[in-house]
Amino acid sequence: MAERIMPSSAGHPKEKISHGVCVAGPMTVHTVDGVIRRVRPIVLTDDDTPGWVIKARGKEYTPQRKFTMSLLGYCEKDRTYAYDRLKYPMIREDFVETPDGKNRNTENRGKSGYRRASWDEALSLVAREIKRLQKTYGKETITACTSSHHSWGLVGYKISLFNRFFSMMGYTRIADNPDSWEGFHWGTPHTYGYYWRLGGPEPYDMLEMAMQNCETIICWSSDPDTSRGGYSAQESALWRWWMKEMGIQFIYVDPFNNYTSVKHADKWIGPRMGTDAAILEAIAYVWLTEGTYDKEYVRQHGHRFKEFADHILGRGPDGTPKTPKWAEELSLVKAMDIKAIARRWAQTPTTVGSGMRGGFGGACRHSNGTEYARLLVLLSAMQGMGKPGRAFWGPGCGAPMNYNFWFGGYSDPLASIAKAPIADDVPMNSVSQVLYRPNLPDAILNGHYEWYGEGFCGGGIDLEFTRHVYPAPGCNKVHCFWRYGGSFFGTMLDTNKWAAMYKSPELEFVINQDIYFTPETRHADVILPACTNLERTDIGEVGSSGLGGYCSHSESGNSWQMIVYQEKAIEPLWDSRSDFWIFSQVAARLGFGERFTEGRDEEAWAKRFWQFSDLPKQMSWDAFKKKGYYIIPTSLKEEDKDPKTGLIANWDRRPGFNWFAENRACDTMNHKVFQEEHLLGTFSGKFEFVSESLTYWAPDDEARRPIPQYQDSWEGHTSLTADKFPYGLISPHPRFDYHTHYNQHAKWLWEIPKNRVIINGNPYLVCHINKETADQKGIKDGDVVRLFNDRGSVLCVARVSYRLYPQTIHAYTSSGIYNPIEYGKYKSWDKGGSINVLTPGRLMGEYVPGMAPYSCNIDVEKCEADPNYGQGWEYILDEVDKQQLETERPIRTSMDADLIFGEREEWIRQQMMKKEAI
């Protein structure tokens, strides 16, 4: 720590200071003459609350007095002035506004260029088309969908603003799938309830519990330094050093020796893809044969344990004892290692969790993912889940926090401009038809699609089994797609199918409203350029997802609970406008403008969130705006401070799940009625070793058996394609990106050698290949390689490594860049690194509508061809920047803008010349 830290909100004579939030944390923004000078972390001042203090093993631990932004936050300047910003409204060159919606050259989407339009022309076209479509086919003809987390703030976030506009207009909603934690969402509610947390566990006060009691922490399929508690920046990094340095043993299980593991693991094992469940069964076998599980706990809280034990010991229908040797044959993890981990887990106070908040992790995004997730919960129960040191938790959340201070998180029903009390006029969507995101292309291309389940089933287990048909009875098919914010090319599976969907004449009209010219934007008929978070006003608490089910109290992933006034730092660049403005304009043209805005601008809406919270008791609106942020003290009581240090030593502690272990009524902040009776949210109220809900709802479900168990994947090492494509692809959520929101835009990221390597101007994604595999294939570190299977090919740069075993290849998902060499040609090689070109579009099971990117077989070869032919990288610049050169120069009031834009323009010129030469 430095000797002295000056307050970050003190003024600089030439610099204006404001504050913002993104998924990488909160930030202090310095601007000079309307241009962003720098983006710094928020460094706390003396008038901010003292921090909490955790006393453990004779020492005291308190967080640093700054909010630690992750690398992505520091890219904000590069991303704001990015070369691929959308600058003007645009209309596809060969789009023809035919009166019947036919013959619109839809096959050219993704290929055609664009012409610049005025806002009035673009908005009028949008309004005319919506009216025509609604008149022809009804309101259900328009569908719309958003990415997650391309912006932050309660006014602008999708559940708020987008929801308000589309509910008011009426549309076919596209249900999201829980794409980051499928196995927990569709699995663990059948084992321990918690469907209202979408399958995730309780994080409450778990950090203190672990620091005081744990001797072992198992991070299964978890890379907390990369997943960062979801959107809690690098806040938990220091906690893990505290725990590591106090001697807690860390065990990491992940096919890739990930970035936290390679630094922290005392033991790392790397199972073959999709075999985690087998290892868990073998661990249970060790405990059962050695009698080292918590028998009293299981007797009290377990349901039908004996049948589970019989299954493990080989007395069940399959007659196979799930021995460590059996698991070794499947997973290639040595039986002796499995035994050693099983004994360490049983003998020492051990906490286990999956992925960023305990109930996430790539291993659950596999065809066998529900079974893995359920087994992990059951094994945690076998060791007394909820007892001190025996938790189900991941070390990326669970810091002390104030549960008694109300300020809404983004999914909170009470914190949305689409809902009361924030809105006076609460819209209800008049269309009942829904679509389902993972299979949107199938629905559009085939004109018919059927599936089970709501996307998010926080309302009850039964919601997993609702039957949906598209088109819904009495409804028309959709003919218009309004895509908003971020790109699914990169996050949704079988990317080529999405590209095919956009070419379908079924989609008569495609609108894309975004900040950047993403691979998906390129498929629109009309492009509406939105501005960034820093160019509009909003309000939000850092990392707080709210009580809407997204693992509530996620802000416990931060050391500080911080509410930020997200002040507009600069004016919208070029001709971009805030999303609020865009929706207001369309609403006005459709006749519900005033109803939509209620006469408020963005700041007036932001103030409503302040007003309907506990914040006014602490800070006036003007004071809050001036300071820019407020940190919620962990306790507001003076007597809770340590008299010596002034740190907050006492607070309203609610250790997660402890109530259940100790037979108390639930005292944590997310309980349901039956938990008052100290029961879980399963049919039996106990841990269901044999699931009653699955037995009742889906006895014939082949993906989820009543007893969770390892099963061979429909695409894995035993499937038919394994001969042709022998390697398992692991594609976790990225360390150097967030969904698709950074990598294409912020070029600084391309210079991280573990992220991308620039060869001939193209930023190739990096993949990790085991040394042995590389030697067999003649691949050297730094070579361009082709990863491929029957679905497509992606060109990457190889990192030859021992951080994974020969059977596995690692490349991060959600590249953000999708750049096929020959655009529009099916299966053309992608050199943007869009790894989901390779992953299957298939759902996990008939009743399990989750996606399974970890069920993916591929092969690899050295790329001998010259990957630099074809249109290459500059396609993104074609239509956006060509016009830029021809038209007036953008806002440039300082050296900064000149330098950034100047360099970029030169680069574009070079690219253009190259292209002409071809």
């Binding site: 430095a2 003024g11 690398l71 520091y74 330094d225 920046a233 990094a237 600084w748 210079e751």
Partner: protein, 288 residues
């Protein structure tokens, strides 16, 4: 002139704490890309890494792999090679120890970039200018700038980068350096510098000990002794996972590794610390 009186401002870089999260790398770009200051011309958007993260993988078997991650800015050496190579005051060392390349006077002097023993000075072809880290001296000098640390240090979430006065023995940075192993970068030899690297790892020898293979059991508590050719002896026992590790051994030495466990035959290996090595799994044989 620094706004806070510090005789020798410096940065301690504790490599053991670095996760290679790249926050420092990005904060540096955020500060220096696109803006000139009195002490430096703008860092170009691509191609220069004033705060470079040097990373290598350690080990030769997936069973025991680590990475070394070494944030590497300019070391602000005591006797800077760049200053020696510069003509006409193109590079100079300030009284507080910070080494600056003059953005005007250094024009055309490529030899300044070539002279750096740790490759921390970059050559800007467009500007014909050598460029490097300024330790954010322009910010530290500015009485109106609200922060008080170089941007990389402020950005570090792991407390791997620590800023303070090296001349003050009671400062946090001096205490940290005193309590840890100083590992200057190879190119600097034994030269002092205002950026002090700590705990850069050298080499490990690691392995696993197990009972006879058919038992499928790791051996906990086996004695492992590593004897260096210079006579130094290192001893440890296998842990709960049957693993052992000797970390930070001297490089390029011959070691004999001896494994013993009561009731089993002793096992011997010869290992050279030319690089990090994993001695595979040792399956013990019972004494007949």
């Amino acid at each position: 002139m620094l706004k806070k009186a510090m005789k020798q401002p410096g940065i301690a870089i504790n490599s053991a704490r670095c996760m290679a999260c790249y926050a420092c790398f990005m904060a540096c770009k955020d500060e220096h890309c696109g803006w000139d200051t009195a002490l430096s011309k703008a860092q170009p958007e691509l191609g220069q890494y004033w705060m470079n993260i040097v990373e290598w993988e350690r080990g030769d078997n997936p069973r025991h792999i680590k990475t070394a991650t070494v944030p590497t800015p300019c070391s602000h050496c005591d006797n800077p090679a760049c200053v020696a190579a510069a003509k006409d005051g193109g590079a100079y060392k300030r009284p507080d120890g910070i080494v600056i390349i003059d953005p005007e006077k250094a024009k055309g002097q490529k030899q300044i970039a070539d002279a750096c023993p740790i490759h921390a000075v970059y050559w800007n072809e467009d500007l014909q200018l050598p460029q490097k880290c300024t330790m954010c001296a322009e910010l530290l000098d500015d009485p109106d700038y609200p922060g008080f640390e170089p941007r990389c240090v402020e950005a570090c979430p792991n407390q791997a980068l620590v800023f303070g006065d090296l001349a003050d023995p009671d400062s946090n940075i001096s205490k940290l350096i005193a309590a840890n192993k100083v590992t200057q970068l190879d190119g600097l030899g034994s030269m002092g510098s205002s950026v002090v690297h700590l705990n850069i790892p050298s080499c490990f020898i690691a392995g696993t000990v197990a009972y006879p293979e058919e038992l499928e059991e790791v051996c906990i508590g086996a004695n492992v002794k590593a004897t260096c050719e210079d006579g130094t002896v290192y001893e440890t026992k296998t842990n709960w996972a049957g693993d052992y590790e000797f970390e930070d051994l001297p490089k390029g030495k011959k070691f004999s590794v001896d494994i013993s466990f009561e009731g089993f035959k002793s096992v011997h290996y010869d290992v050279l610390t030319d690089a990090d090595h994993y001695v595979d799994i040792t399956y013990l044989e019972p004494i007949a």
